[in-house]
Amino acid sequence: MHHDATTANKEQNSESVCLRATDLQFAYPSPTGAPTNVLDGVSFMVAEHETVSIVGPNGCGKSTLLLAVAGLLGLDSGTVSIRGKPPCEVSVGLVFQNYRESLLPWRTTESNIGFSLELKGVGREERAEKVSSFLQELHVELPLDRYPYQLSGGQQQTVSILRALFAAPDVLLLDEPFASLDYRARLNMHQRIQEIFHQTQQTVLLVSHEIDEAILLSDRVLVISHRPAKVLAEIGVGFPKPRPRELVLTDAFLRIKREIFARFPL
């Protein structure tokens, strides 16, 4: 759409850049033969308060890309800079598809969300207070004294996202966060999460294989190639946020979807 103009504006005003990935290169070492090339010169940026989605075929290296941005992967070359610093010096939130695995199942909702404060040595009462006022500000209601296995899938993933947000990350990385949820839960999560991100003005990088989801939730969509991953296209989404779920049925939405579809590697 109008992605050229959007990008140019954001590039000019360097103060508004939150995350910049430059020429990321990564290959998995393999014991037999040549290493598998996964990231092949990936470059992109995410502005402050922006939500950017990464879409691409399965196994194209999207998850690897997120780990690289989180600083959990030793890149062969290229740099990731978040608010001008390397990832290990800033706070990065990371949410995975599998909430069952990534939550701490022996901890209650409150204790999971407050985990980052506990690691800082903040006492139990103060943590409880801060968690409950955090949830109140976001108008989220969750059973605080329940364990993850007593919650629905959507609630568990909400806890997982709030746990990351509670640590006030410079950027929040979401790896297929709604892929394990059923259709109805996913649609509800889209609305809930949009409201939360709108209120917190959180900068978000989202990996998804669902084009509708990517468009609905983000300001820009990056289309990634088959492995080794390269950025094939960048498409701007201009709708004001938060967006109603019915937006996916409008012609304007479908125009963007067609554009992404045309660039999507099949």
Binding site: A70, F96, S102, L103, W106, F115, K120, S160
Partner: protein, 252 residues
């Protein structure tokens, strides 16, 4: 659910009562010499008559097992966590652990007696070794199975070093560790009872069973065996109880 559990318990008790009745019937029929099979009533009488001694034996056995179990479990969890987290250390230890796991532990008892004497230390040391081996293996396995995404998410929340081990790795491994402890307490009891049958024991259920057998005090032997069986049963139930409390989330 409640009704089903109750039904199950009642059936279990009924089964046990049936076994005792069959035992009584066989003993009363005169088909088997009372020298080999005293009746349940004779056994109960022997237990009543020797209650004081058998209680002392029970206390001695339990104390040896408790010391060996706690020491072995604590050491096993520590070493297992270390090996589980460190690929290189695990590589060095894998074969050695596999060897000692395959070696029937009782073969080491004469060596333990040379090292630690005939009294309690050799028995406790061997029990500790048994519990240690089972706990180490299960702890390594539990630590290795912690989901990678759980670790990565915790790392981005700034968990590292000891808090990462203590607050993420070890709790994640708890269900596997407890499964190991359940095996360990049963095998630990076997080791305590067998080592008590050797010389150098004053009190202990193993000693009582062995001595009663030697002098054909068969009802006393049966009484001590029954107490040993009840002890093993109770210990197993205790571990299961602890498992449900601590690892309530596992399998959900």
């Amino acid at each position: 659910m409640q009704a089903r559990t109750n039904n199950g318990t009642w059936r279990g008790v009924l089964g046990a009562v049936a076994v005792v009745l069959v035992w009584e019937a066989v003993a009363a029929s005169g088909l088997v010499s009372p020298l080999i099979l005293p009746s349940p009533l004779d056994t109960a009488r022997a237990l009543g008559g020797n209650a004081h001694v058998i209680l002392q034996d029970l206390a001695a056995t339990l104390a040896r097992l408790a010391l060996g179990f706690v020491a072995g479990a604590v050491l096993g969890i520590l070493v297992g966590t270390m090996f589980g987290m460190n690929d290189r250390m695990r590589g060095f230890s894998e074969l050695v652990i596999d060897f000692f796991r395959s070696l029937p532990v009782i073969t080491l008892f004469p060596l333990a007696m040379i090292l630690f004497g005939l009294g309690n230390p050799s028995k406790i040391a061997l029990t500790m070794w048994t519990v240690f081996l089972l706990t180490v293996v299960n702890t390594i396995y539990g630590i290795r199975q912690v989901p990678k995404t759980r670790i990565m998410a915790a790392r981005t929340l700034r968990a590292k070093g000891w808090p990462l081990v203590w607050k993420v790795y070890i709790p994640s491994a708890v269900p596997t560790i407890i499964a190991g402890l359940r095996l360990a307490i049963s095998l630990g009891l076997v080791v305590v009872l067998v080592t008590e049958m050797f010389t150098g024991t004053i009190h202990g259920l193993g000693k009582r069973i062995y001595d009663a057998g030697l002098v054909y005090e068969v009802p006393v032997m049966y009484a001590a065996i029954t107490v040993a069986g009840l002890l093993g049963f109770a210990l197993n139930k205790a571990v299961v109880f602890v498992e449900r409390r601590i690892a309530h989330w596992s399998g959900q």
